[in-house]
Assembly symmetry: C2
Homo-oligomer: 354 residues x 2
């Protein structure tokens, strides 16, 4: 027998649909209206304690969970953060993925967001970002490995899409960023080596043009100046990011008129090559030649000797990035802002003379 009109009763109770229970089901069981249930969930102080209790119980009993899509459609937000996962390059130890992404996911979760991974297709990198924004699949982005004039940052900026970068722009602050002071990391390594008595300290960096690499290189120059050491151009070399490149660089350095007794590398990958070349040449790493790397990748403690390396506080970076981004998404924007975090030198046997 049909109801006396009036749609009071939900014509499609959950059980009948083979789906989970809805707000309606909860409301019916708790004998309140839908909105009251919604209020219990989203504005608890608007509801009387007794009512709240009854609703909570109904929720419990039915195993109700709000339908995220429905909520998001109404709210006009996906509560999703996009992160582009880079293709892994063979022969290069990805310094970021493992720790950083996990930290990102954890931080996002604590702020009520999820992380959506994506990777560009033939349509191109920017198109991938546009697609995600256009379909409102994500609310904002986290960019890592940003470089000077990063095309992604420029595009997102132009479109007014919220994002925070891991890495800072060169222009005066235009968007919010978090970065690790790579220069300070190299500085710390050089000071550490000088404290061990080293006078001829070399730096093997990346070719000019990468923001990250250039700033680390600057730290090298700064440290030498602070220590009153000569900045010998012959001891400041640039190679691609590969172990073989590092090995060749070391051999080249050793062939110089006044070879270095210590080497700071811009990456662990390069340091691996340096270690190998040194060992091959019969140099005792640690005592005869000190070597430091950068990023403290998982292999650093596994090498022989264990590699001294500059560790980035990736967990803190991820945490701050998510905090800033969720702030922006919550509308509590404030001006774009930057934050520079300090890295930490992890000293191991490769820079110990004993």
């Amino acid at each position: 027998m049909a109801e006396q009109r009036s749609g009071r009763e939900d014509p499609h109770p959950a059980e009948a649909r083979g789906e989970g229970p809805t707000l309606n089901d909860v409301a019916r069981v708790a004998r309140v209206s839908r909105q009251t249930v919604s209020n219990v969930l989203n504005a608890p102080d608007k509801v009387r304690t007794e009512t709240t209790r009854r609703v909570q119980q109904a929720i419990q009993q039915l195993g109700y969970r709000p339908h995220r899509l429905a909520r998001n459609l109404k709210t006009r937000s996906s509560r999703m953060i996009g992160y582009e996962i880079a293709r892994s390059r063979p022969g290069v130890i990805n310094p970021v993925l493992d720790r950083f992404v996990h930290a990102l996911v954890e931080a996002a979760r604590d702020d009520g967001y999820h992380v959506l991974l994506f990777t560009p297709d033939e349509a191109g990198q920017i198109a991938a970002y546009d697609e995600l924004v256009g379909t409102r699949t994500v609310d904002g982005f986290v960019l890592s490995e940003v470089n000077y004039a990063d095309p992604r940052a420029i595009a997102l900026q132009a479109r007014g899409v919220p994002f925070v970068t891991f890495g800072r722009p060169d222009v005066p602050v235009a968007h919010t960023w978090i970065d690790v002071d790579g220069g300070a990391g190299v500085e710390a390594a050089v000071h550490h080596l000088a404290a061990q008595g080293h006078q001829r300290i070399a730096f093997i960096g990346w070719p000019e043009g990468s923001a990250t690499g250039d700033r680390r290189a600057e730290g090298f120059g700064r440290a030498l100046a602070e220590l009153g050491l000569d900045h010998d151009a012959a001891l400041d070399v640039r190679v691609e990011d590969g172990a073989d490149d590092g090995a060749h660089a070391l051999i080249h350095l050793l062939h110089g008129a006044e070879p270095p007794t210590a080497v700071v590398c811009v990456s662990d990958t390069i340091a691996v090559g340096v270690l190998r070349a040194a060992t091959t040449r019969g140099l005792a790493v640690g005592s005869e030649l000190a070597v430091a790397g950068f990023d403290d990748t998982p292999v650093a403690p596994l090498l022989t000797p264990q590699l001294t390396s500059v560790r980035q506080p990736l967990e803190a970076v991820a945490q701050r990035i998510v905090n800033h981004l969720t702030d922006i998404l919550a509308g509590g924007a404030g001006k774009p802002d930057g934050e520079l975090l300090a890295p930490q030198l992890i000293v191991r046997a490769s820079t110990h003379p004993y």
Copy 2:
């Protein structure tokens, strides 16, 4: 002046809302109904060419993109695949994250899905899966590193949630899985070593109880049997997954009555330790002691000497997993099914006598 009533005209054109254009806007511009626009997008053959053209042009002109949330709410699917990202353990090289996750994202994208990353909170691992399913945030899951009687697989199975695993269950097929034949990988390594003339070949595996580890160990026994070699219990040891553990294991092996001339390791992490211990003892790896690892992690080619290792076809695994999962999600289920892929031995200097 107000419209003559009748809601024919959308009272909220896109420009007025500061949001992107909607189906309505496109329909208005193309002078067709909403439904026709929807058909152009979802059932092109239902629409006349001429109409299609006009609609396409309107879409173009407005820069329209379907609102994913709205579509998903209607279709009752999120087109999202959940993947639990494991916390990175220090000192262990994660063999999976980098290549596998990227491949997963790429494969999912090609099938019209996105990958959502998550990690459990205090509520517990299974609770995290339940939450995602309950809120209908994801349509299904990919599980990696599954073990015997994996609690996640059991829980999802019980709830009827679609999922595919990387790794196979021990019980007769209950769900769809893809796996790499680890035993065959170890077998290949042993055969390769035997071909080099080695007779005393050792295996350093993980403690019993891990599906992956046990199967790799079985491959060792199988290979010895095939080669007619003795399965000397003293040459078949089990340690935790760490470089130090590998180093200790090798030292222990070398102290035996009849030490091995070759060692196959269940992981690259262990192999790193073996390499280190061998070098420390003055053993020439390659000629005096051959060493093989497993997983061909990014460090394998960076070690000295370069490490022979068994490489898993992670890209193919991801591809197959996503294909199966999207099939299931599309309703074209079929019976649960398994697929075993062959790994490939990458031979490098650590097992070469010259």
